[in-house]
Symmetry: C7
Amino acid sequence: MSVVAKPNIKPLGTRALVHRIEENETQVGGIYIPDSAKEKPQQAEVIAVGPGELKDGKATPLPVKEGDRVLLSKYAGTDIKFDGEDYQLVREDDILAIIES
Amino acid sequence: MSVVAKPNIKPLGTRALVHRIEENETQVGGIYIPDSAKEKPQQAEVIAVGPGELKDGKATPLPVKEGDRVLLSKYAGTDIKFDGEDYQLVREDDILAIIES
Amino acid sequence: MSVVAKPNIKPLGTRALVHRIEENETQVGGIYIPDSAKEKPQQAEVIAVGPGELKDGKATPLPVKEGDRVLLSKYAGTDIKFDGEDYQLVREDDILAIIES
Amino acid sequence: MSVVAKPNIKPLGTRALVHRIEENETQVGGIYIPDSAKEKPQQAEVIAVGPGELKDGKATPLPVKEGDRVLLSKYAGTDIKFDGEDYQLVREDDILAIIES
Amino acid sequence: MSVVAKPNIKPLGTRALVHRIEENETQVGGIYIPDSAKEKPQQAEVIAVGPGELKDGKATPLPVKEGDRVLLSKYAGTDIKFDGEDYQLVREDDILAIIES
Amino acid sequence: MSVVAKPNIKPLGTRALVHRIEENETQVGGIYIPDSAKEKPQQAEVIAVGPGELKDGKATPLPVKEGDRVLLSKYAGTDIKFDGEDYQLVREDDILAIIES
Amino acid sequence: MSVVAKPNIKPLGTRALVHRIEENETQVGGIYIPDSAKEKPQQAEVIAVGPGELKDGKATPLPVKEGDRVLLSKYAGTDIKFDGEDYQLVREDDILAIIES
């Protein structure tokens, strides 16, 4: 599900802006997160990434990039609405894995 | 919404002085924060920034500057009133993203 | 119990994707985890591993590899279903030991 | 409001001795802290400062000096009475900003 | 009490596999842990040890080795059953002392 | 109030042995700690000091010495009685300031 | 009160084996710990000490040695009985001071 107009939001630090992919949408790679799971990850598409952690003047980039499909931990980040679409600002540590196409 | 007379407040350390932009004011870039969001970020304009984190005598400047529009985490900082206007002193970590015009 | 089609999930950081081996299945090396144990480890097979912890640009690989049989601490990770099979994304610290064949 | 006789108290470490300026007194720079603010900073004058944080034998001086007007976080420090006047011993981290005259 | 067939379990990191010595068994060195003690250490025999803590690529071995008799803090580790025998996977920090024969 | 026979107690690490000066005794420098203060510092005289924090084999001495009058945070340390006198073993961080004579 | 047969217990890390000296026994240096004290240190004799904290392969020895009389913080360590005598395994940080004879 590709994004409408890309929101003009530049995440800061180790955060990423992501767009959730609801369960009933076509699952890429057949990944389905059981409702019962105590911590249900959420599939999402990466929209934008922050510069990463800054240490001694050097930034360590995030391990994900724009367009990647990822799995989020359940209680990840902060909800944002843009042009009627839902987005989330999440921390790097809340991104569990990349779903390879 | 540009600020009246700029408050003579110099934030310390990693703090920034910001001026909240209420929801009903014109949203820049169409960003709207759903009330339901468990942690509703708040849009604001940066008024002044502290020197940043001091380590081994060197300061790492904040990633935002005066005039930037930013998204704040919901429970950010400390409220201050100046000439009838509301301001907040927030920490760098409470500034989630920059809204690019 | 070898895995059906390997899920196209690439764990991030110090995480590993594992496939639990239920108690009633044949136990390798006779390991049986008593129900009464306050923290009942779970036997599992390693499906994929993340790059490991990144520090100063260098990654420290996980001490387990694809195909290893391991013991997990009881409340490990996040459940995922793929092609009807249960998987878990666990942290390196939740992997207690390797069961040598 | 200038201090009567300066208390002979030498703060230690990253602490500062400050003298609160009550709200009804003339506000410098028109700063007024709304009662409703969940964390109401308090205006104060700096009376004396400690040496600052000692690390590897080197002290990092506090970013404020005697005579500065500052904003304190609400629950800052320890109350002290000297010659009938109220003072507080506060930590550097409880001093939010300097009010420039 | 020497162990039956040694379990094929290789502890990871700073963990050790130990085999508890019940109180009524002959106490080595007359050590008896009073029931009343708020944190009753448990005597055990070390079966296998992990590589120890890995830092900058170097491992610091555990201060105990296979065959040592040790005292454990009361709420140590995770219970495991192997060939009808009880074992525990404990952290280095839960091993209080060595009982010298 | 000078101490009777000095207790033969050598504090360890960053601790100091102090002798509280009760409020009704003559206050040095007119310092009086209001009962209402949420955290009422206590005046005391320093009897003995530990070597200070040891790091990489080097000790950083405490910023106070025997005979100094100091202000303690309210819930400081451990009470000790010696020859009928009350003393306290306090941590360096519980000593807020020195009262200069 | 000198120890009967010395227990064959070798403390690990920063721990020490100590033997409590009950209040009614003759107090060395007249130290008496008031019952009312919120944290009543306990006098004890040091029986054996661990190697101390290991950092980068180097051990920092404990500041106490066998035979020293020390003051313990109230909730120190783990009780052990040996040949009918009570002992405790305590951490270095729970040893507040040395009582010099």
